[in-house]
């Protein structure tokens, strides 16, 4: 039981649960987490953080959580875990020391000192952040050359790029890939009616045997119906015209070229 109350572990409980999704951050009156609340409370004691009264701090925090829970029913687990841990620490600090401390439990004073140290550390980092923020910053307080003179540039084999850019590029595409659905483009066919009309128009000029390939439109390689579609539609149309007696078709053997010509019934007769 005591192991679970080590200060280094208690914050991870909610964190690991949220590991798969977005981090759950409940902003309780502008505090980002229990440690930030504790820090704000500790400051009100106006002593060196390392000399802090953990008992007082625990009381203040428990009161804070009570209040916050009153206002917001769904208080983040982190806050409650910290509350439970502080209550436990407080009880141990108040209890008379056992003659023989149980070996698996660190002395309460030591745990309290660690908490104080953690707060001091966080405080130091906040101060550091503040100092960085208020110090002179480029293009805010200090400015570089506004109009740098051109230096002739030669291309080189060095290139720009960092790991983050590489990872972003990768993820960007994988995300695109997962959203992409397969939409086959329906093939464009050469309409039979068009083929028939075209053949009829060509008919007066087709008094000699002409290969089918020469009759069918050549088409364009990039857009429109494919060459195969042109040939197939033209063949079908020509067969219709043959049936109607306007045209003749012949093929010498299987797979050989097909030849077409207009039927000149009157002329031959």
């Amino acid at each position: 039981m005591s192991a679970g109350f080590q200060p280094s572990l208690d914050f991870n409980a909610a964190a690991t649960a949220a590991e798969d999704g977005e981090a759950l951050i409940i902003d309780v009156d502008g505090y980002e987490g229990p440690l930030h609340v504790l820090l704000a409370l500790a400051r009100s004691q106006k002593v060196d953080l390392l000399q802090l009264s953990i008992l007082k701090l625990a009381d203040q925090y428990l009161a804070f959580v009570q209040d916050a829970r009153h206002l917001r029913f769904s208080l983040a687990a982190d806050y409650l875990v910290m509350a439970a841990w502080l209550a436990y620490l407080k009880s141990r600090l108040l209890l008379p020391k056992a003659e023989q401390p149980r070996p698996e439990e660190a002395p309460a004073e030591e745990i309290a000192a660690r908490l104080a140290f953690r707060l001091a550390k966080l405080e130091a980092m906040r101060e550091a952040a503040e100092r960085l923020r208020t110090g002179p910053q480029l293009r805010r307080e200090v400015f570089g050359r506004g109009d740098p003179q051109a230096i002739r540039i030669i291309p080189s084999n060095a290139f720009e790029g960092d790991l983050y850019a590489l990872m972003s590029a990768y993820i960007g595409q994988r995300a695109k890939e997962s959203q992409r659905s397969y939409r086959p483009a329906p093939p464009v066919a050469y309409p039979l009616e068009d083929a028939r009309d075209r053949l009829r128009r060509l008919l007066p000029d087709m008094d000699r045997w002409t290969p089918l390939a020469g009759v069918a439109p050549a088409g364009t390689p990039t857009a429109g119906p494919s060459r195969a579609s042109y040939v197939a539609s033209t063949l079908s149309a020509s067969l219709e015209l043959v049936r109607e007696g306007e045209m003749e078709a012949r093929q010498l053997e299987a797979f050989a070229d097909i030849y077409l010509r207009a039927r000149k019934s009157e002329a031959t007769a």
């Binding site: 999704g21 977005e22 400015f143 570089g144 050359r145 506004g146 109009d147 003179q149 051109a150 230096i151 002739r152 540039i153 030669i154 291309p155 080189s156 084999n157 060095a158 290139f159 720009e160 790029g161 960092d162 790991l163 983050y164 850019a165 590489l166 990872m167 972003s168 590029a169 990768y170 993820i171 960007g172 595409q173 994988r174 995300a175 695109k176 890939e177 997962s178 992409r180």
Partner: protein, 218 residues
């Protein structure tokens, strides 16, 4: 404030203004930006003197003031500078896919990107020695597989391929969004590819070898 101190402040202010400005400033522009009553004309004269003969001089061009490097130092400015090349978006993306999916064929790269890889993209990566031909896939057509090079690792500061940030780090960096499919995985580029034949760097290809020998013997 005594007069000279005032004047000194004004020279400092003009100095900073002209330095940071994106282009030359006219006297009127300078006056407008300085505190009222500043002796701009006097300060400009002071500055002119202060910079005379230095590496940087105060110049009056087209009715405006600017700092410029001294004419006789032009040779310094034309020094060539090696500008690192910026990878195009396509190249960056192709590189990322090769890095994570190696060994990978051109067709596979295209499958992930959803567009045809232009010849130039792979060529640029090969030329920059970020990418190399690794081997051939044991599949019909025996397509060439691509992988990253040592200089890729060097550039990105990786000691080996297993250092390439994986899913955990992508999550940390906030790159993985939640709407990715559940089976989304990032491949381990370090895994041994079993269906790949080496290109055999020593004797690359019989054909090549043969020509080499032939040329040598004639």
């Amino acid at each position: 404030m005594s007069y000279p101190e005032h004047r000194f402040e004004t020279t400092r202010e003009i100095e900073a203004l002209l330095f940071a400005a994106a282009g030359p400033l006219t006297e009127a522009e300078i006056v407008k930006r300085l505190p009222e009553g500043s002796d701009v004309v006097g300060a400009l004269a002071d500055l002119s003197l202060r910079y005379a003969g230095r590496g940087v001089v105060l110049a009056y061009v087209a009715n405006a003031w600017r700092f410029q490097t001294a004419d006789d130092l032009a040779w310094l400015m034309t020094q060539e500078r090696e500008e690192p090349r910026r990878l195009s978006k396509a190249a960056q993306e192709t590189l990322a896919i090769i890095a994570y999916h190696q060994p990978v064929t051109r067709a596979e790269i295209e499958a992930v990107r959803g567009v045809q890889a232009s010849r130039g993209t792979l060529d640029v990566l090969l030329e920059l020695r970020l990418v190399r031909m690794r081997g051939r896939r044991r599949s019909p057509g025996r397509p060439v597989t691509y992988g990253t090079t040592d200089s890729f690792l060097e550039h990105y500061g990786l000691s080996n391929l297993s250092d390439l940030p994986g899913m955990a780090e992508m999550k940390t960096a906030g790159l993985l969004s939640l709407d990715l499919p559940a089976d989304f995985a990032v491949p381990d580029p370090n895994a041994l590819a079993l269906d790949e034949d080496p290109l055999e760097p020593d004797a690359p290809e019989f054909h090549v070898d043969f020509i080499g020998e032939d040329a040598a013997s004639t």
